[in-house]
């Protein structure tokens, strides 16, 4: 219970900071929407291609926004050496990981809702297979947030972290990009049965990322 209570404490702290600073709402969400819009401009002459590529473009936009969200999650720990404050708290590394990853995941859900609405409008997409879409989005988001948080703390203490995080995170989340895109494609094509193997892949990735993060975050926080 104390493990989960500590995780909630950290998540609450991060979300309160984001609510107060509005970086997620005023910078990260608009960034995702702008990326979707740029794809629309680039492929506007080929509406069929735009329609077909909508799932992949949606997740590419989310993936780019993940990098910003993770960077933000750890930049707040660098100011005033708050990271040392976290270490001094004696909180379990696993609970800090779960708290930070949960906060990033909630921000991503908000982003996906807004970017998803933009995709529906701009790419002329008809929403089908809502259950599959939701399951895919939940599993993919947890996997992205957990992976990003692990690599975020790994690069946190380095001067080159802004450039290092994308280099580490993007290859690691390739399975999420693939699985989420395929499951969305199947759901939107009206064949949700084809999506479930991909949803299972996403769920397995999420479980693996959360488990690895819970175990590894404490030592990484010490070493960074």
């Amino acid at each position: 219970m104390s493990f989960l209570r500590d995780a909630l404490l950290v998540a609450g702290k991060d979300l309160r900071i984001e609510r107060r600073s509005r970086v997620a709402l005023q910078q990260i969400v608009p960034f995702g929407a702008i990326v979707v819009m740029l794809f629309a401009f680039a492929l506007d002459s080929d509406r069929v291609l735009l329609h077909q590529a909508a799932p992949g473009l949606f997740w590419a936009a989310v993936l780019l926004a993940v990098l910003l969200a993770v960077g933000r999650s750890f930049s707040i720990e660098e100011a005033n050496r708050a990271r040392d404050g976290l270490r001094l708290s004696g909180l379990d590394g696993g609970s800090i990981f779960l708290g930070k990853a949960a906060a990033v995941a909630l921000e991503l859900f908000l982003l996906e809702l807004i970017v998803g609405a933009a995709v529906v409008v701009l790419y002329d997409v008809t929403v089908r297979g809502v259950v599959v879409l939701l399951c895919s989005a939940v599993a993919a988001t947890i996997g992205l947030a957990a992976t990003g948080t692990v690599y975020g703390v790994l690069a946190g203490g380095l001067r080159a972290r802004e450039t290092l995080v994308p280099l580490l995170v993007l290859p690691a989340v390739t399975p999420v990009m693939l699985g989420a895109t395929r499951s969305f494609q199947a759901a939107l094509a009206g064949t949700p049965g084809d999506a479930w193997p991909w949803v299972q892949l996403l769920a397995a990735f999420a479980v693996l990322a959360v488990t690895a993060g819970t175990v590894a975050f404490g030592p990484l926080l010490e070493e960074a």
């Binding site: 702290k13 900071i17 050496r81 708050a82 040392d84 404050g85 270490r87 708290s89 010490e222």
Partner: protein, 218 residues
């Protein structure tokens, strides 16, 4: 070791419970390193260190929960208010909101309890660090240049906190260049030069009856 450079090589220091130990010495001598080591923030590459009866290399988390470090940085979040920062410090070490509010009152920051940390003056930030330390109910108080940035009233508050902490059996280690002020508080002084600890005689000071509790040998 600090990076590739040896720090505090050969240093040997025992501090008794309830002592207020002043660490003096020139810049770069190793005072801050010693305090951060005792807080469990720096790894011990060689030697041994026992803090509050706990081996630092075996149970660093247990040590961290029992110590408080007031350093050059506040370890606070700019976008959280003063009260939110202290409450987070208290709750993350298993204490309650009441402990946090009491600590705030003790350092005289209730008036700015709802002001964001990022908008505080240097002196207010230093008081906030003290409040964080109090809210954690630490048994070892590590103060790195605690007088810096404090006005006259702030220094009185600091002295009151250190004296009452020591009276309650809390051990205090403070590193300072403001020796006149620091010596008013200290029951013992050691001088650190190039990582070596040298005793400073203080014939007029009388230390309380302590029990051996904290030792660091590197």
């Amino acid at each position: 070791m600090l990076g590739r450079f040896p720090a505090l090589a050969g240093a040997d220091l025992d501090v008794e419970a309830g002592e207020v130990l002043l660490l003096s010495g020139p810049n770069g001598a190793g005072k801050t390193t010693l305090l951060r080591l005792c807080a469990g923030l720096l790894p011990l590459r060689a030697g041994e260190a026992e803090v509050l009866g706990v081996d630092l290399t075996v149970e660093p988390r247990r040590v961290r929960r029992a110590v408080a470090l007031v350093g050059h940085e506040t370890f606070c979040y700019d976008d959280l208010t003063v009260a939110e920062n202290v409450r987070f410090a208290a709750r993350s070490t298993g204490h309650g909101v009441a402990d946090a509010d009491e600590a705030l009152a003790r350092v005289g920051l209730q008036r700015v309890a709802n002001v964001a940390h990022g908008r505080l003056s240097q002196g207010q930030r230093r008081r906030l660090s003290l409040a964080n330390a109090l809210a954690r109910k630490a048994r070892l108080l590590l103060l790195d240049e605690p007088h810096a940035g404090l006005d006259e009233h702030g220094r009185e508050v600091l002295e009151d906190i250190v004296r009452s902490a020591a009276a309650d059996g809390c051990t205090v280690m403070l590193a300072s260049h403001e020796l006149d002020l620091a010596r008013r508080l200290a029951t013992r002084e050691v001088r650190i030069v190039a990582g070596q600890v040298h005793a400073v005689p203080a014939p007029t000071r009388v230390a309380p009856e302590p029990e051996p509790e904290l030792g660091a040998h590197a």
